[in-house]
Symmetry: C2
Subunit: 254 residues, 2 copies
Amino acid sequence: MATGRTHRPATRSRGIPEATVARLPLYLRALTALSERSVPTVSSEELAAAAGVNSAKLRKDFSYLGSYGTRGVGYDVEYLVYQISRELGLTQDWPVVIVGIGNLGAALANYGGFASRGFRVAALIDADPAMAGKPVAGIPVQHADDLEKIIQDNGVSIGVIATPAGAAQAVCDRLVAAGVTSILNFAPTVLSVPEGVDVRKVDLSIELQILAFHEQRKAGEEAAASDGGVPTAAARSDSTDQGPDGDMPAVMPA
Amino acid sequence: MATGRTHRPATRSRGIPEATVARLPLYLRALTALSERSVPTVSSEELAAAAGVNSAKLRKDFSYLGSYGTRGVGYDVEYLVYQISRELGLTQDWPVVIVGIGNLGAALANYGGFASRGFRVAALIDADPAMAGKPVAGIPVQHADDLEKIIQDNGVSIGVIATPAGAAQAVCDRLVAAGVTSILNFAPTVLSVPEGVDVRKVDLSIELQILAFHEQRKAGEEAAASDGGVPTAAARSDSTDQGPDGDMPAVMPA
DNA sequence: CCATCTTTGTGCACGCGTTCACAAAGACAT
DNA sequence: ATGTCTTTGTGAACGCGTGCACAAAGATGG
């Protein structure tokens, strides 16, 4: 997962709960797909299914933004796309720098999902002099020495760190000193930042470990079930859960 | 961060709260670093700082695993590494397949964080015949036609999807049919899976959008503050929060 | 053996997030 | 207009997660 922020009281920003903010991009994606198929309106039930959430939750989420639906009809797709985009700040252009152009950095530079959402890769930065000038995803890589200048010239406030863990904190410090106030961190380290700077983290290995935990649990239960054996202290398992996955089929309407 | 599962009563697996499970890898990483520096014991306060969490939370998390600490001393690093590894199921070897060897898939194949945590890339799979046989990260790419055979021959239960969005559901269906029960999805789509299959999702674009939201809010507040202006309906802001961000793992367990 | 000091483990209270369930609101037909 | 039907918006209840604060446990020294 991406583990989100670390400590801090989970203050709700601007009256909109964090949990809701985290789902808005999900709704936006589903709505964009509907928009491309020229669907004019959508009910909370349909949209919720497309986004993979509960419809009551979706309605409550939208209620924080205002009353944008029409009872008996549903939500106007285009209007909602606009409202959510505006709420997320995607109506403006966000220049982003990616630091650390290894395999992952290159993948991020090539990722199409950015441009379509108001993000623009302003620069690619790497510490390796051999990389300098080499184009990745059509953008020439620049040397880390120029980091501060690049940030300031482009008015960058969002930085992506894709360096090895050892370099991450130093890069982070320089980014922050140069004026970056939001950081997306792919390096497996806890970054310490001054107040007012947001950090979100994505750690691939952590996601896999969480999956492994559940996988092990499933395997254990299955074994216990077929064995009929009593759970031992070494491989205890309980039966207090009704099923591993109480999910709804996230059905996409045809 | 990864956006994880969607709804679901957040059943706690085996008595260990999901939120705790999500933090165990974090502790494990910090402990591993301590272990490499041959630190024998660590207090909850120190470890919490290293992992970026509250010490009370850490102690409570560990209490779900059992009483592994010594009062007045702290926790034995090696012992704790072992206990958490075992709890997460990392003492066994997890063969993993990566489907979709584009930029991202290649980056994942090269990612070092897997092998060190008990994960082994058993195969790389791509639908492009031109990729077949080409080695990526030292592993020859295999064609998607052989997906089922590869899964079964290697006893794979964890799959990583790094294909374009359009192909993701079809790949997912085939993985599940072949026996995969845990999926890490990088494609920007909601996957629908049968009960008993866990899906975790990582969406880079979503993470950036959440950052943009907070960034916009910070910019708005700053403007309002220097203006001294009254928040308008279009750009309202409040002052009831002391800090920009709460956590909220956008990832919920499956 | 007793006193003191450190650090764990946890009972408890509080707040956020989720879900249910329903009244209010509007569309649409007659 | 009036009634019916659909779907929103939300009040209220519940449950999980968090953090405080402290008692219990053990180390350590005299």
